[in-house]
């Protein structure tokens, strides 16, 4: 495990992309397929299973050290991470010296850690203490992280695929594809992943393609091109998904690479109508058969994460797959074809469906309509209609473009509606974790109610730059009125403009409203708290956003 601990340290220290990729590639080559597979799974965040809770690990640490729990809390607030706090406190445990323990990463992941997890209370504490005593400094932190399942390294998936490409000589796109749909770490999986092209005959039939992603519109770049070269569609407000029909089986993948068939059973009949070897890229929405537009994100949220939706929920919030693109037809990868051809094939596919479709399938598979655009000047008017049809903006895709892997600036643009805005007052703050440990970066904001009181309305974590965060942190410390554990109530003096994508009624929130994607747009030092918005102005937005 030392090699992996060293790699993590190298990745943290390395300044440039080049040296990070080299470090990754060197590591994968040096450790062999079994440890390499685990390194890969951990770096890609595909292994998050918690074997012991952070609380249990802390208990073991505290019982041995005799430190009071409140002091542990203070330490944790400073460090922002349980596993690291415990690692830093280990010298306080006066553990007896033990011969150093060095085992391969795979041995830890496959045997040692799971074995620790199933031990009974006292035996477990002893085994953990013995491991701490035997591990070198740098490995204790890693051990704690792997045990509590919170392991995360700040390394982009793109860098990992680049390193894999360097090691294997394969294209990055090919590797990204092979990694889709889950990677179960083992020496065999690693060897299959890095196998030469012709040898990769064992691709699982469930494997999705890497999603092609859009970048926020750069109007100047677009203006220089011919509008006729672009396909314009609504940007639907659902979740991006891939519907796969192969060898008599259906696979519905979310963008987060979760298999979500079970949550959307009503799509099965229409999937069965697709010819074998078909892969559709599209948006999963809640869209009743007779409705002219989707029901919004709120109803969809009720469906997400529900493993087996009941009959009532299926009736109230029926799902539909809105197809954007055809990635595979008759088992053939269409991604290298230009979008214009793929679109024609998609339209052909959908057109032929209703003739064979029985009534229950109607409205389950919809074609994302194309929007006419004569000149760039019309773009803005079109975008402004988005909210009225239940979309969150526009998508622009180059008609001659292949279906790329990941975000390839210039071929796909998203042009979202401006967010809704409200001026809100800072009420509470809490320290973040990791890089933001001990800096107050989690904010809770309020709006005025009819009685002249501030009611909590939304939380936001992002939107300020580093110097603003530092300055606000100082201000928060000097203006704390009360503390509730890690949360500080502050003088209600600072006003911020909050942007968000949508509003819906919610009985779980004190304001009666839930906001979607709230983020700070501006720190309004020019505003007094009295001038902040009220709940009634939020309710007015609710009316305009509801259709």
């Amino acid at each position: 495990m030392q090699a992996f601990a060293d790699l993590i340290q190298q990745l943290e220290r390395a300044a440039g992309t080049r040296s990070r990729v080299d470090a990754l590639a060197n590591h994968l080559e040096a450790v062999g397929p079994a440890d390499g597979a685990w390194a890969l799974a951990l770096l890609l965040g595909k292994r998050k299973r918690r074997l012991i809770t952070g609380r249990r690990l802390r208990q073991i640490c505290l019982e041995r050290s005799g430190l009071p729990e409140w002091l542990f809390e203070s330490c944790h607030a400073q460090v922002g991470d349980s596993a690291e706090t415990i690692a830093l406190l280990l010298p306080q445990l006066s553990l007896p010296p033990a011969p150093p323990l060095e085992l391969p990463l795979a041995e830890w992941m496959e045997h040692r850690l799971p074995a620790l997890a199933v031990l009974e209370a006292e035996a477990q504490a002893e085994a953990v203490l013995a491991t701490w005593a035997a591990l070198p400094d740098g490995q204790c932190f890693l051990f704690n992280k792997l045990l509590t399942g919170g392991f995360r390294v700040g390394v982009a998936a793109g860098l990992v695929t680049r390193a894999l490409a360097q090691v294997s000589g394969l294209e990055e796109a090919e590797l990204a594809h092979r990694l889709m749909g889950g990677f179960e770490p083992s020496a065999a999986a690693m060897e299959a992943l890095l196998a030469p092209l012709e040898a990769d005959a064992t691709a699982p039939i469930s494997r999705p393609y890497p999603f092609c992603l859009a970048s926020p519109l750069e109007a100047e770049r677009l203006a220089a091109s011919d509008p006729a070269g672009w396909q314009v569609e609504w940007k639907w407000d659902g979740i991006r998904a891939q519907l796969i029909r192969r060898s008599g089986q259906t696979f519905l993948w979310s963008r987060g690479e979760e298999l979500i068939n079970a949550s959307f059973p009503e799509l099965e009949p229409v999937a069965e109508l697709l010819e074998p070897g078909t892969v559709l890229d599209g948006e999963l929405t809640v869209w009743p058969a007779q409705a002219t537009q989707p029901a919004g994100f709120g109803p969809l949220q009720r469906r997400l994460g529900r493993q087996k939706p009941g009959a009532a929920l299926l009736r109230e919030c029926p799902a539909a797959f809105v197809a954007y693109d055809l990635l595979e037809k008759g088992g053939q990868d269409l991604r290298p074809d230009p979008l214009s051809q793929r679109r024609a094939a998609l339209e052909d596919l959908v057109r032929r469906l209703p003739e064979t479709a029985s009534t229950p399938a109607a409205g389950l598979l919809r074609l994302s309509p194309l929007l006419p655009l004569g000149c760039w000047d019309d773009l803005e008017a079109l975008r402004q209609q988005a909210r009225s049809v239940g979309a969150e903006g526009l998508m622009l895709k180059a008609l001659d473009s292949a279906y790329g892997v990941g975000r390839r600036r210039g071929l796909w643009w998203k042009h979202k509606l401006e967010p809704m805005e409200l001026d809100v007052v800072l009420l509470y703050a809490q320290a973040g974790s990791g890089r933001r440990a001990n800096l107050h970066t989690d904010y809770t904001f309020g709006l005025w109610d009819g009685d002249g009181r501030l009611v909590t309305f939304a939380k936001a974590y992002s939107g300020l730059d580093n110097s603003e965060i530092t300055e606000l942190d100082r201000w928060i410390r000097r203006h704390t009125t009360e503390r509730f554990g890690p949360v500080r109530a502050v003088d209600p003096l600072q006003v911020f403009t909050l942007g968000f994508e949508g509003l819906q009624r919610s009985s779980r929130h004190r304001s009666g409203l839930a906001v979607r994607f709230p983020r700070i747009l501006r720190w309004r030092r020019d505003r007094t708290p009295e001038s902040a918005d009220s709940l009634s102005s939020a309710l007015a937005l609710l009316v305009t956003s509801a259709r």
Binding site: L71, S74, V79, D81, G434, R478, T480
Partner: protein, 349 residues
């Protein structure tokens, strides 16, 4: 918590005050007589009519507060009468010329620790344990997560870091007064004899250290290096404030590191944006704080700076001492060393 109004040491708007000696200790504003623990900017401020400090720190103080200040120099351990009180300065091991100040009168003794550390440091006199009835201690790193490794060991890692990059300049950021010279002295002890380049702010402190006889490698201000001379493989020491400043333009693709006690925590390392963080501090770590409280034998402890609440509570609940934080009064003071980590230095509401 405020100090008792009729005590030997009181807290006034100017800072800690001893009426018997008619003197303030490290006052925040100009006063008639200031007893100075050490020359860092948050402890030694200009404008006082009269200063008292240890002789070893005189050079630095005159340089920072003005050559013409009225300064009475005393030796470590020398007991002087001031009004109705006996005053003595004792080595604090923090930086060159740093002191704890002991004041006694009417059968009661107080010890004001100033900033201190218990670890070995070849650039200044070691900490001297002093007995007192009441202790006012700092708690900058008053959490058990802070536990320092020997300075020599950290310096050896820094040396290895420097040696591993012969193609690029190695920029080491460290507090200009104290930390920089300690590092240089540790490097000298490790056998480094080649010239180290210095930022102007560090250079300004070199003369007092050299005249105090501290063994240091040869140094030169970066500004005296001819333009165009290669900086590859050179070690350059600069204050943290120079990081990402225009001063850095001169370096093509340097490797950077920050030396500070705060670097013990991963999140702090990542937040600061230095490639490497070396955890080395001139303040006491948790064990050092507890050991010092024990060594003084004090039954009453007041705690300032950093985790003052936490250390005081620990002493009270786990050690059975009368202990209170003096946090509020000392909060929001820009510490010369803590300047980069205002957040961590101020943790009390």
């Amino acid at each position: 918590m405020v100090l008792p109004a009729d005590g030997l040491i009181q807290l006034t708007p100017e800072g800690l005050y001893c009426p018997a000696a008619e003197a303030w200790i490290d006052p925040w504003r100009p006063v008639s007589r200031a007893l100075i623990t050490h020359g860092h900017a948050d402890h030694a401020r200009p404008g006082c009519s009269e200063y008292w400090a240890v002789r070893a720190g005189e050079g630095v103080l005159r340089q920072r507060l003005g050559a013409g200040i009225t300064l009475t120099g005393v030796d470590y351990g020398e007991v002087r009468r001031l009004g109705g009180a006996m005053v003595s300065f004792h080595s604090a091991g923090h930086v060159l010329g740093s002191a704890q100040i002991r004041i006694s009168a009417g059968g009661e003794s107080w010890l004001i620790s100033g900033d201190y550390k218990r670890d070995e440091d070849p650039s200044c006199a070691p900490f001297e344990p002093v007995a007192a009835d009441v202790l006012i201690t700092e708690a900058t790193f008053g959490l058990p997560i802070y536990r320092w490794r020997p300075g020599r060991q950290v310096a050896a890692e820094i040396l290895a870091w420097w040696r591993e990059a012969p193609q690029q300049p190695s920029l080491l950021f460290a507090y200009a007064f104290g930390k920089a010279q300690r590092l240089l002295a540790e490097l000298a002890a490790l056998g480094v004899e080649e010239e180290v380049l210095l930022h102007g702010a560090v250079q300004a402190l070199m003369a007092p250290y050299r005249s105090a006889g501290v063994v240091l490698p040869p140094t030169r201000p970066l500004s005296e290096l001819p333009r165009g001379e290669s900086l590859a493989g050179r070690l350059v020491i600069a204050p943290p404030s120079a990081h990402r400043s225009p001063w850095m333009k001169r370096f093509k693709a340097p490797q950077t590191a920050f030396v500070s006690g705060w670097m013990a925590v991963r999140g702090a390392r990542r937040r600061r944006g230095f490639e490497r963080g070396f955890a080395l501090s001139d303040h006491a770590d948790w064990d050092g704080l507890l050991r010092t409280v024990r060594d003084t034998g004090a039954g009453q402890v007041y705690v300032t700076h950093g985790n003052s609440d936490g250390l005081a509570r620990f002493l009270r609940e786990e050690r059975g001492l009368a202990a209170e934080p003096l946090g509020r009064a000392f909060e929001g003071l820009e510490s010369e060393e803590g300047e980069m980590e205002g957040a961590a230095a101020a943790s009390v509401p």
